[in-house]
């Protein structure tokens, strides 16, 4: 199945992309998708850090959150607004 992956701020800049469409297997959770991306080595290893938060369909989720076809999966560093 396909999920739409997004990257923000310093992570977006380091990866040189704002996102991509990612093919993942059935039953894939956030942790598995994160590991898949981090396995690309280089700057992608940033995704292995627990400091990089994940949101699915615009809500913060735990690593065990299961993904579904068409989900929007975002990764980003700790927020610094306000």
């Amino acid at each position: 199945m396909k999920v739409q992956v997004l990257f923000f701020a310093s992570l977006r800049e380091a990866l040189g992309t704002a996102g991509e469409t990612l093919e993942v297997g059935e039953g894939c959770d956030v942790a598995a998708a994160r590991a898949l991306l981090a396995a690309r080595r280089g700057e992608w290893q940033r995704l292995a850090s627990p400091r990089i938060r994940a949101a699915v369909n615009q809500a913060l989720v735990a690593e065990a959150h299961g993904l579904a076809e068409g989900d929007e999966l975002a990764f980003f560093p700790p927020v610094t607004g306000g």
């Binding site: 997004l6 923000f8 701020a9 310093s10 800049e13 949101a55 615009q58 809500a59 913060l60 975002a74 980003f76 560093p77 700790p78 927020v79 610094t80 607004g81 306000g82």
Partner: protein
């Protein structure tokens, strides 16, 4: 309960925002304005990135959480994005209600949660170039005190 959230590049007018919160039955309006400091460290500018959609949603949820905790009448949040210069306003949070204690508490709660929960990221420019701001531990501590 009236909740209003805006994420925008334009500046805001504090007088207009406070007036809009001053609805019937309101005796107290507590508000906060965050701005870009004219620091001695020589900041040229700061750029605020956000996650369109999720940001508005997170701010709205924080306002709903505030109204579930305190008897308040209205919450207004305005957060700017894009490039801002020293002295410019960044964020407005205003809470109105019958009494001041609740308005103050809810306003501070919204600011603390906004700092740690709303997807905004700051990038600062100075003489050494541009760099992303690190999340401050004091902000996590400030938000943690509202846990129940």
């Amino acid at each position: 309960m009236a909740i209003s959230v805006s994420v925008q590049s334009e500046d805001f007018d504090v007088g207009v925002e406070v007036r809009a919160l001053s609805i019937a039955g309101v005796g107290a309006v507590a508000s906060f304005v965050g701005r870009v400091r004219e620091s001695q460290s020589g900041l040229f500018a700061m750029t605020l990135e956000h996650y369109p959609g999720m940001t508005e949603r997170a701010l709205h949820e924080i306002a709903v959480e505030a109204e579930s905790r305190w008897p308040i009448a209205a919450v207004r949040i305005v957060h700017r994005v894009g490039r801002l210069l020293p002295g410019e306003q960044i964020v407005f949070v205003g809470v109105s209600g019958p009494h001041r204690g609740e308005a103050f508490a809810a306003c501070e709660f919204v600011m603390d949660y906004l700092k740690t929960r709303a997807p905004f990221w700051k990038k600062e420019e100075d003489a050494n170039g541009a760099h992303w701001v690190d999340a401050r531990e004091t902000d996590d501590t400030a938000a943690a005190r509202w846990q129940r």
